[in-house]
Amino acid sequence: MSIKLFQYPNGSVGLRDFHEVFSGSEFIRGRTGSGKTTILRMMNGLIPNFYSGELIGRISICGSKPNPRDVYLVKQEPEEMVTCCKVIDELVFPLVQRGVSLAEAKREAESICEEIGIGDLLWREVFTLSTGELQLVEIAAGIASSPLFLILDEPFAHLSRRNVMRVLKMIKDYRHIVAEHRLEFEPYFDRVVDLGLEEIEVEIEKPEFGDVLYDGELSLREGELIAIVGDNGAGKTTLLKEIARDLSSKRRKFGLVLQSPPYHLCKNTVRDEVEERFLKEFELESVASRHPQSLSSGQMRRVAIAKAFSSDIVLLDEPTAGQDINFRRKLVQLLRKYKKSAIIATHDEELAKLCDKVVEV
């Protein structure tokens, strides 16, 4: 892969001066917006076949042009990959498109699911799964397709440590490339491709707790940060939604940020969505005049979180998914600085450690 420049139609530079040879078992790290997703999209031909723009450079996959048959991409947001209603059909779908008979595809899908430990999900409807469970299903679909390269865009963002280890065990038999922000899994790869990531030390204020603001499913004090942790499908999001409904019924003002950022955005510009003082804090000044829905998934999440900061009580579901490691400390610092009370559902162990209380479901 030898890229001099890739520029999106809106003028933003996706990638510049990137020259790399991938042979499998690579871990791509970099700050949010450094071009990780762009590289992966180039590998299977999504760029330039699907996303247009100006591309100066050359990409070759084992001597041929990038194409989805050779390179299977598992996207960052698993909901965006759903094509069928039932889990078994979702697994079988890419295989059938590649010409495998339906019966054979079903056998293959069942055996992969058993290996990855999601055999119990096979007959469930896709929309009844949690985001983490769906991520496992999409990874299993990728593995079942047996491509030349399996490339995964932040596959661990929604997974518990136990499930990440399962996935790592499964993909090690395939040529794989992973772009990820959870650096604790870096040692499990043969090589690290660094797109530039500096760890910034952020001073976090000491917590000062006030009165109890919410007493229901959990007890939350003013200025307190509570982390909800647990395995995929344990019910973290459900608990967060229950708390939101409870707060709603008590007519308390709160900001809820779910895993899909577009849910929260309804204005024409980022500036209209977010209070001026939070634009700088969340490093959104450069995109302030852009339409929020035109941003990358990680940036959209940042806007959604910044928007939620207008309330004293903040409920966050996987806020560090799609964000670099500096963001987790920054988030806690801002929550402390603005004396927010927060309940955070997360798989991010580092983020959970920074909270005042950890509740396991």
Binding site: F50, P68, K75, T83, D89, V96, Q97, P262, Y263
Partner: protein, 204 residues
Amino acid sequence: MIEGRICLISVLLLSISIYVSNFNYLISSIVIALVAILMREKVLKLLLLFVPVIFIVLISSLLVSIEHAVITTMAFTALISTGSLVYHSDKSEIAGALLYFKIPEKIVSLLSFAVAMFPILYNDFKNIKLVQRGYCSLVKSFISTVILRSLSFSESLYIKSFNYKAVYSSRNPGKFDIILLMLCVGIFALSVNLKFLHVPYWSC
């Protein structure tokens, strides 16, 4: 769960029955009752979703007469109820049934996508309702989400090397399916009889 082919034939028979009987309220009531017995609270959920549409039908047909409004609304409600048979059945079996009835695979695969998107969009709507306050914000967020969903969906089709091949399943109808089919044939026969004898709906 109703077998795919039986489900499609039943829905077709019930819908034709309502139409053939000139929206006879006896037929409409029987159809609603049958679907309610089969689907229980699921049909109620679907009807609740369609309340605004049912309400518009009621208001517009009230312009003719109250009797007309009652008959039309009942028939419309019955038609939506029959839809719940398909909505709550196994979608891959429905795809299998369509292929069995010689519908081209290309069309079946496209129809399957449309059906697969419904529950996902409904789930999106529920989540947005929880997050957004105000009708305008809710609608705007939902529309943006739908647009982004459709874009990411087409991207997924590219990723999965979509080749117009349908994913389907099939099985043999069971006793329950045969009984349902017979009931639907009975309702159809009754509606043809009503039509043939020119029995006006108010005499039933």
